[in-house]
């Protein structure tokens, strides 16, 4: 993974990109509208949402049981199960599995888990080329780019950019784009179809993720639109699926909840065009229908750390529908790249710092990438209280946390808070600081230097007043009023991260659904 800038810096660049903002506004607005319409068709949406939340809660609270169950079921169905503690191990397992087949090329179904662990890069180092087969992922891969949305990863590209990418790069990866390629989406999709068809027909190994993994039966489920998923799951001889340990649902019947919640929340469709399910290998029935060899790689990579946090745990309920991205005012303006993670938007803001820890400045900045407006919680089909987790993580970032040694604390913020405390504790120092601030205010930059820069990247630095309240009070009372009292509301001496005035929509504390399943808060009705 390349080194990412912190969220505020990346967001400042992204908000200056008019094309990106236009594309995002159109995309999120359109999907939002479709979602609302199909959700309204089901008058039991609130009940489905509560069931989805509860099923995931049950799974997480007994994850060890379900992991052992799914393992046994997959083995019984002819599959092989591998366990990966972290990204490096998962990459090593997959690389060795591909090597063992003797193949140098693999085709891939779009998968957040494999992006998270940087699998394509790891395979490339081992001399194995991974071909992304989802149209958007293909655009991203050919363009040496990064995805910017969970659902529509290339939404930051417009049609003429896509045409250019196809014309310039397709030939390096396989069948080149036709000379007369136009920028009509239908034409571009047809070029991708031709480009990938020979790849599908000749590849022996495919790598996928899974949207769901049924503990009871060992069944894996992939939900998609284009048919590239079906291609990858059907044609190659070997299928390797990398699946996060949180993707489990206990029973086959539980899918009845998620196969209603996911497509409606995600693409705003009653059902996505294709859903494929497979249980182990299909060689057993003699039909040769699908892969003869199936490997399941169960991935931890920070998930158990997330599970250990009784407030943050609920992020593991996420079914990656992307509804929260589409309603988020911060995401709509900043775009997916600003989050520096394969998980952008509100879910990224709570999942990434938990999976990776907050030692890195980027990850520590993510819990601040929100206005806490609560819209994400409203649309979340599994009722993840994202604002609650954001606030919780901010505390962890500010304080550091002995329970979570990976949360080192937000250095700039702690320094600033310490400075502020010193100033506020001393009327003399405070007065001097204010006067210094006022005297030099013509010289103030629009942005702060040093560790404060992150704050002013996304906000304008407030103007100092002509005169401090203390001086005004002192001048006014010099007429005979005696010594003025200490001011109640001093100017902010050192504007810093975290000191933003926020629309308070944080849920009441104590409203911690993941710790008290029997007293869950009222669902949205």
């Amino acid at each position: 993974m390349p080194a990412f800038p912190t969220f505020p810096k990346a967001a400042r660049e992204a908000t200056g990109n008019a094309q990106l903002r236009h594309n995002l506004r159109k995309a999120t607005g359109t999907i939002r509208g479709k979602r609302a319409a199909v959700v309204a068709e089901l008058d039991d949406w609130a009940e489905l949402r509560r069931a989805g939340k509860q099923i995931k809660e049950r799974t997480l609270r007994h994850l060890d049981t379900y992991l052992e169950q799914v393992e046994a079921a997959v083995i019984a169905a002819g599959g092989t199960v591998h366990w990966a503690a972290d990204a490096a191990e998962a990459n090593r397992i997959v690389t060795d599995l591909v090597r063992a087949t003797g193949e140098r090329d693999v085709i891939k179904v779009k998968s957040m888990a494999t992006q998270e662990i940087g699998l394509n890069e790891a395979l490339a180092e081992a001399g194995i080329t991974a071909y992304e087969t989802d149209l958007a992922e293909l655009i991203v891969q050919l363009g040496d780019d990064r995805p910017s949305h969970i659902l529509v990863p290339a939404i930051h590209r417009n049609r003429s950019e896509v045409r250019e990418i196809f014309r310039d790069r397709m030939g390096e990866w396989g069948r080149p784009a036709p000379d007369d390629l136009t920028d009509e989406p239908a034409d571009l999709a047809a070029a991708a179809r031709r480009h990938l068809r020979e790849r599908f027909l000749s590849s022996k190994v495919a790598i996928s993720g899974a949207n769901f993994l049924v503990a009871e039966t060992g069944t894996a489920v992939v939900v998609e639109s284009e048919g590239n998923g079906r291609m990858c799951l059907t044609l190659p001889e070997t299928l390797i699926s990398v699946v996060g340990i949180e993707k489990i649902v206990p029973t086959w019947a539980d899918l009845e909840v998620f196969l209603q919640l996911l497509p409606r929340s995600s693409t705003g469709e009653r059902m996505n065009p294709y859903t494929s399910t497979w249980t182990g290998t299909t060689a057993a029935d003699g039909a040769g229908d699908g892969p003869g060899t199936f490997h399941l790689v169960l991935l931890d990579n920070g998930r158990t750390d997330t599970l250990a946090d009784t407030v943050g745990r609920q992020a593991l309920r996420c079914i990656r529908c992307s509804a929260c991205l589409n309603v988020c005012p911060v995401y709509e303006r900043a775009g997916g790249h600003a989050y520096g993670s394969v998980y952008p938007g509100p879910i990224g803001a709570i999942l990434t710092p938990q999976l990776r820890g907050t030692a890195d400045p980027l990850d520590a900045s993510l819990p601040y990438a929100s206005s806490l407006c609560g819209a994400c919680y409203e649309v979340c089909p599994v009722a993840i209280d994202i604002p609650e987790v954001l606030v919780h993580l901010r505390e962890r970032v500010v304080q550091g946390d002995a329970e979570h040694p990976r949360a080192k604390g937000h250095l700039a913020e702690r320094v600033a808070m310490r400075a502020a405390r010193t100033l506020l504790d001393s009327p003399r120092l405070l007065g001097a600081a204010q006067r210094a601030g006022i005297a030099t205010r013509r010289l103030h930059p629009g942005r702060l230097p040093g560790p404060g820069a992150a704050w002013t990247d996304t906000r304008d630095l407030p103007q100092f007043p002509d005169e401090s309240f203390r001086d005004w009070w002192a001048r006014r009372s010099a007429a005979g009023e005696g010594a003025p009292a200490a001011p109640a509301a001093p100017a902010r001496p050192t504007p810093e991260a975290g000191q933003t005035p926020e629309a308070g929509n944080a849920p009441a504390s104590g409203d911690t659904p993941s710790t008290t399943p029997t007293s869950a808060p009222e669902e949205r009705k």
């Binding site: 159109k26 609270r61 972290d86 958007a136």
Partner: protein, 244 residues
Amino acid sequence: MTTPRTPSTQPRTPGGAGSGSRAAVLARVRAALRDVPATERPEDVPVSRDYRRSHLDDDPARRLAVLHENLVDYRASVHPATPGAVAATVARLLAERGSASCVVPPGLPEEWLAELGDGVEVLRDDPAGRPLGAERLDAVDAVLTGCAVAVAETGTIVLDASAGQGRRVLTLIPDHHVCVVRADQVVASVPQALAVLDPTRPLTWISGPSATSDIELDRVEGVHGPRRLDVILVHADGDAPPAP
């Protein structure tokens, strides 16, 4: 991360040798769940099932009408027919689309092929004997199948690779899929469909033709799967054809 582990790509059985990260991950999961009382069983975590089993009245005609409507909404073409008219409809659809070759799975009712003209080459897939290769299928125009179940509320057809449906690859590579759905195969909802499906079979749920919205959110049909989906909706003789 500092967890010690034994890198291994060997197949592992529960508790078997070489299960380094297996033990480590399970131990971490258990440590992370310290707050869960040891006596709590999964069933103790409540799941309320007060959502609907179906959003439609129990009226077969209405079910067919809703299926028809939702299929069309997802840009499939729907062709109501009586049992006796299936063969003629199949022949008409292949001719209309200019499909000169058609692959059929084993177990497909022969009478559905009865009215195909000499101009249409019929290929029979024989998974046990000589299954058709992907390259061969790539040169075939159309595929004709039945289905396992159809879901009215979502406009979905489910194939389970049993008789009359064949291997998944058949409905994947040819560009034109003609699918015959009998009225008695139509259920109202997703919960009802899952209840009659066998999870051990490879299932393919199809809702309209292949589609993408990846380029500026413009919907385009047919990226990788079939670009045309024709559904022949068979109601019993004498019943009025379902009207959307």
